[in-house]
């Protein structure tokens, strides 16, 4: 059962990437295909991030541990799409040179926010395996709570680049707000324990 579910997750999680390859190859992305690729990958990174954050509420609402068992996989897919999004953004929008990337990080708030969100994902991705989990013990949980600030950064990154119609980024930000609000009681508990 678990294997079947994980295989299905692998399959469906790779579909957006397959679509990008297919659409790019079949010229379905319009005259600015690079921008379309960047946007699509970014959107999926955010979606996977939000899906990952939905798993604990689902677990607590249903009592099924499977939601926690697939969490690492889905979280890694968020990291995977965020990394592809970043690489595509550098190649298609910013320019393929370190000076350009550093200047963009320095001057463009939305890029600063996006890169910060991606940088915060790095330690989470690296320490997602069992070895680190055991080694870090209780600190592992605290480390992985970085997902909250980084999800906020990702939503701000999206909101910041909109020119006029805030509907879509506002929707994602609202979903994140609901997911964070749901955890509010635990945040306060956590604050009391570590303050």
């Amino acid at each position: 059962m678990r294997v079947a579910i994980k295989s299905a997750i692998w399959f469906f999680s790779l579909l957006p990437l397959a679509w990008v390859f297919y659409a790019g190859n079949a010229n379905l992305l319009g005259p600015d295909p690079g921008k379309a690729v960047v946007d699509t990958l970014g959107l999926w990174a955010l979606r996977f991030l939000l899906i990952t954050l939905t798993l604990r509420p689902l677990r607590e609402l249903t009592g099924r541990s499977i939601f926690i068992q697939v969490r690492r996989l889905l979280g890694l897919f968020a990291w995977f799409y965020a990394s592809l999004h970043f690489a595509a953004g550098v190649f298609y929008v910013i320019g393929w040179s370190w000076q350009d990337v550093l200047r963009a990080f320095d001057e463009r708030t939305y890029i600063t926010l996006g890169i910060l969100a991606w940088l915060l994902m790095l330690p989470l991705g690296i320490t997602s395996n069992r070895w680190f989990q055991r080694r870090l013990g209780g600190r592992w949980r605290r480390l992985h709570q970085l997902i909250y600030p980084l999800a906020i950064l990702a939503c701000l990154h999206f909101l910041w680049l909109v020119r006029s119609d805030y509907w879509q980024p506002a929707l994602y930000a609202a979903m994140l707000a609901v997911l964070l609000f749901w955890r509010w009681p635990r945040f306060t508990l956590w604050r009391r324990r570590f303050a």
Binding site: G24, L29, G30, P31, D32, P33, G34, K35, V37, F91, Y92, G95, A104, E107, R108, T109, Y110, W160, L161, R163, S164, D165, Y166, W167, A170
Partner: protein, 324 residues
């Protein structure tokens, strides 16, 4: 006097004999255009649009009127548009602009002119030989195209209605028709409708400033601003207001839509300027469309979009960082 002709009459302003002789053809085309509404109003695909008679641009045209850079394919120029009246997605205008009724169409000219009035489209076209201009189009979002427009200089229309000495600015308004323009019904958009734009009178009278009624040899598709739009090639694309219903000459600088939404991001002038970045992104380079996945086609952006020789003198002594 604010109204003056360019120092030399550019060759383009003299109607070539061949076109003059074809004027009946054009009138016939205009009549066809007028009748098109009766046949199959707005579902006309770009390919089926009526052809126009016009003087063709070429390397021999006056400097700035023609660029030999590769022209953007028609399909891209008509399916990748910012025309928020139909939605904010680049594909929305092509999908939804058919709902706009462009026939009949009239433009009200008012304010500081001796001959104000509401002119039918055919009336505006009368006496103006149509000519082609191949211009670069630079969007403020850092992409660009090369488009063969068909139209006539705004100056020739303004001269006809005789601006008074108090006419220091020209204000333009796009049609407000929420029933036909779904973007104007959007609840989450930030633009107060109708869309408005403006130029200083000397910018408006500049020979590069075009009132366009066609592109790629045919009448404008709705998504590109049919039936009549402005084209100001040295400014960011949003200055080139589409589907114009009102032109007002006035003494005061008019408000402009993007400036009203975000004054720190979009100035009144909005000249293409690689040295003045948009606060949120760089304007130093642009993606010349179409790009491909293997070649994003990023090229450096030129001062005044490459029209500095023609227009830089309009801004002599101005601090372009301040008046961006």
């Amino acid at each position: 006097m604010l109204i003056r002709r360019p120092p030399d009459i550019p060759a383009s302003e003299i109607t070539p004999e061949s076109i003059y002789l074809r004027r009946r053809e054009f009138m016939a085309a205009a009549a066809l255009l007028a009748g098109a509404g009766a046949i199959s109003p707005h579902a006309l695909g770009a390919e089926e649009q009526k052809t126009l008679a016009y003087g063709k641009a070429g390397p021999e045209s006056p400097a700035g009127f023609y660029t030999k850079e590769a022209q953007t394919p028609l399909q891209d120029a008509t399916h990748y548009n910012n025309f928020y009246e139909f939605g904010t997605d680049k594909g929305d205008p092509a999908e939804y602009a058919a709902a706009l009724k462009t026939e009949p169409w009239s433009v009200t000219i008012e304010g500081e002119v001796e001959k104000p009035g509401t002119y039918g489209l055919e009336d505006l076209l009368k006496g103006n030989a149509l000519e082609e201009r191949v211009y670069r189009l630079r969007c403020v979002e850092a992409w660009s195209m090369v488009i063969p427009w068909i139209g006539f200089p705004l100056a020739s229309l303004l001269q006809r209605v005789r601006p008074t000495s108090r006419a220091k600015y020209v204000a333009f308004t796009t049609i407000h028709a929420p029933a036909q323009m779904r973007g104007q019904r959007s609840l989450t958009g930030a633009i107060p409708w109708p869309y408005v734009e403006g130029l200083r009178i000397d910018e408006a009278m500049h020979p590069l400033t075009l009132l366009s009624v066609g592109m790629y040899g045919k009448v404008l598709p709705n998504q590109n601003g049919a039936p009549i739009r402005l084209v100001v090639p040295w400014k960011y694309g949003f200055k080139s207001i589409k589907s114009i219903v009102k032109i007002r000459l006035q003494e005061k600088q008019p408000p402009t839509s993007w400036n009203l939404i975000a004054p720190t991001e979009y100035g009144f002038y909005s000249n293409v300027n690689p040295q003045v970045d948009h606060p949120r992104w760089s304007q130093k380079t642009e993606r010349r469309l179409p790009g491909s996945l293997f070649n994003p086609n990023r090229i450096p952006t030129q001062m005044f979009n490459g029209y500095a020789d023609q227009v830089a003198s309009l801004y002599a002594g101005m601090d372009l960082h301040r008046y961006f």
